[in-house]
């Protein structure tokens, strides 16, 4: 029975009005909630026009870091700047952990977006594959670089699926990153034979998926770590070990990283020192093992210009060294396919010395090295001096 029965007519009328008001408010809330679910579709930022890269130096290449970008507009702007720089090729990381968040189920949306945008800018992509999905490791103390050997076939499955999906758009794939460093294996001891087993799993799977694919091994880190070091193994010994354990038939090209640090690009290489021409020592090992027909791609390189890092040079030196490094490989290294500068831009500035490796800061400010490299790649003769001369006491 309703409580209204005992109420006076004015009270009943008041309660009725109150109920109506409440019903109206509830309806409005419901309507608002429904409206909020109806979001407009995201804007399509993919340019209609397909650009071409204007460059006179095809080896110029930059390493991008687009996998963690939230905004599509940022991906677009980064790739526009790579094209405007005159870089015909980019190296881009495609993390396995992002594509296969559940075992056996691939989601390509993020990668598709990057690949489509790169294609519209006329950029070729060298893909770096790595980063282990969380479902493969129960132990939360393992980093996403920890790949147990039982995961090798699963990585090969991912690499094959990737190669098949992007065949034609991406035909160069790097297997793992800096396998001669312990932290790149989740702090497992470095072991070239184990890396070769990963190549042996991935190589035939990729080739079956895309026979035109070029499989790049290594992406070896320049380091002087001796045998037995817990941090890693120097790149020269690691490459020798790779050949000794049967790597030769399981890669088409070698990816290497080389950093100039404090030395000029022309400085002589030596086994006990790190500099730009250390790559030549790796090349000798390839020749010793009958792999002279294979090319080398330098997929990370550069100088750092942070004002307080121990191994940094001045910004003007950095620009000059980088251009001279390109000149050097043009003149002496016909076996080097690309020289890819680390890095075009970080998604956010780290506020530490690695920021001194970028060509563009996170706010899209172009650094002097960007202009210098652009002039070189596009054959421009500008003389941009973006800063004032150092102040002098008597000026």
């Amino acid at each position: 029975m309703s409580d209204d029965l005992g109420a006076s007519p004015p009270e009943r009328s008041k309660r009725k009005r109150t109920r109506k008001s409440l019903a109206l408010i509830a309806s409005l809330f419901l309507f608002a909630a429904l409206l909020s679910r109806l979001r407009p579709p995201p804007p399509n930022l993919l340019p209609d026009k397909r650009h071409t890269v204007e460059t006179v130096k095809r080896r110029v290449c930059v390493h991008t870091l687009l996998e963690n970008e939230v905004e599509e507009a940022t991906i677009l702007r980064s790739l526009e700047l790579a094209r405007e720089l005159g870089a015909a090729t980019i190296v881009q990381f495609f993390p396995w952990a992002y594509a296969e968040t559940r075992a056996g189920e691939f989601s390509w949306r993020l990668f598709d977006r990057i690949v489509q945008h790169a294609d519209r800018q006329g950029l070729r992509i060298i893909a770096r594959l790595g980063l282990v999905p969380a479902w493969l490791n129960d132990d939360k103390t393992k980093t996403l670089n920890y790949l147990p050997e039982r995961g090798f076939p699963m990585f090969a499955r991912y690499a094959a699926a990737f190669a098949e999906r992007y065949a034609g758009a991406i035909d160069e794939l790097i297997i793992w990153n800096e396998p001669n460093l312990s932290f790149e294996w989740g702090f497992q001891p470095v072991d070239a034979a184990r890396y070769v087993r990963l190549l042996q799993a991935a190589y035939p799977a990729i080739k079956a998926a895309n026979p035109a694919a070029v499989v790049l091994a290594g992406a070896l880190a320049p380091t002087l770590e001796p045998r037995g070091s817990s941090a890693g193994l120097n790149d020269l010994d690691f490459l020798r070990d790779m050949y000794a354990t049967g790597a030769g038939d399981y890669f088409d090209s070698l990816a290497v990283h080389t950093y100039g640090l404090l030395e000029a690009p022309e400085a002589e290489p030596a086994g006990d020192g790190l500099n730009f021409r250390r790559v030549e020592l790796l090349r000798e090992i390839m020749l010793e093992n009958g792999d002279g027909h294979k090319s080398i791609s330098i997929t990370e390189a550069g100088w750092n210009d942070h004002p307080r890092w121990l191994y940094a040079v001045r910004p003007s030196q950095r620009s000059a060294y980088t251009i001279r490094a390109y000149d050097y490989i043009e003149a002496h290294w016909d076996w080097a396919r690309h020289l890819c500068i680390w890095a075009l831009r970080y998604p956010a500035d780290l506020k530490s010395y690695p920021d001194g490796y970028t060509l563009i800061n996170a706010d899209f400010l172009l650094k002097p090295i960007y202009f210098a490299l652009q002039d070189y790649a596009r054959g421009w003769e500008r003389s941009i001096r973006p800063w004032l001369p150092p102040p002098e006491a008597d000026s």
Binding site: P307, D349, W387, S395
Partner: protein
């Protein structure tokens, strides 16, 4: 009548508060050193290529972060052991348990807080505005129209562009190196410079007689990072840092290196 009606609810509220306080007291347990650092030492990750915070000096690590690590370890009563790791491997070393904590000029990065936790800051490397001592306030508006020196394409450059986007206007003086921007202020060729705190402190040491005013324009706190599941360790380290701040030891360490 009203007072009597309120009495039961007051009793209930009081009981709830007492129960909450009791629960909080039961929940709070002082950190246990043996749980925090079961190996009997504190393993600290540093990047020894970034002076004055950490420098590998022929195999011997030294710097502000090292002194701070040793002081924290002494507060806790355990020895410190430092592991030199490149910047790119620091966080992986922490997550995988290779080290107990990181003291390596690390800014607080909110994006990493799903896996780790930072202590209170021990240093602020924000951008500072520097001027001659006789100039007025140092805020962006007060500097309007003035000649502002900075390192080209640095975070200071970005900050100045952001101020300009807000409507301020400056005569920009970009330099190749941050010390050139400071030279410009010291030699009265610029009204002000915008520079990160550690660069400014180091420059000021080199020019001990340089009279200037400085003020933070932005904040960039450096803190110690620990894994999220190392609650006892975090409490001990953070408490030690508080003690070092209160005793003036932290200021002494920072003052020694910067």
């Amino acid at each position: 009548m009203k007072g009597k009606a309120e009495m039961p609810s007051r009793i209930v509220m009081t009981a709830i508060v007492v129960l909450l306080l009791f629960a909080m007291w039961r929940h709070y347990e002082p950190p246990n050193r043996d749980i925090a650092f079961p190996a009997g030492e504190i393993v600290i990750g540093v990047d020894g290529s970034f002076p004055p915070f950490a420098l590998d000096d022929g195999g011997r690590l030294r710097g502000l972060d090292l002194d701070l690590g040793n002081a924290i370890a002494a507060e806790i009563g355990l020895p410190a052991r430092f592991v030199n790791i490149s910047y790119y491997g620091l966080y992986d070393a922490l997550i995988s348990g290779e080290v107990d904590l990181l003291i390596s000029a690390l800014r607080i990065d909110p994006a990493r807080m799903d896996a780790l936790r930072y202590t209170q800051p021990y240093f602020d490397n924000g951008l500072m505005t520097v001027t001659a001592p006789f100039l007025g306030p140092l805020n962006p508006a007060a500097l309007d129209g003035g000649a502002l020196a900075y390192e080209y394409a640095s975070s200071a450059d970005s900050q100045i562009r952001a101020w300009e986007a807000e409507g301020h206007s400056y005569a920009r003086m970009p330099f190749e190196l941050p010390r050139h921007a400071l030279d410009a202020v010291r030699l009265s060729q610029a009204d002000a410079a915008l520079i990160d705190a550690s660069t400014l402190y180091l420059y000021a040491r080199e020019h001990a007689n340089w009279d200037h005013r400085r003020e933070f324009a932005t904040r960039e706190p450096f803190a110690i990072a620990l894994r999220l599941d190392r609650d006892d360790a975090w409490k001990l380290v953070d408490q030690s840092l508080s003690a070092l701040k209160e005793s003036g030891e932290l200021a002494r360490i920072v003052g020694y290196w910067l």
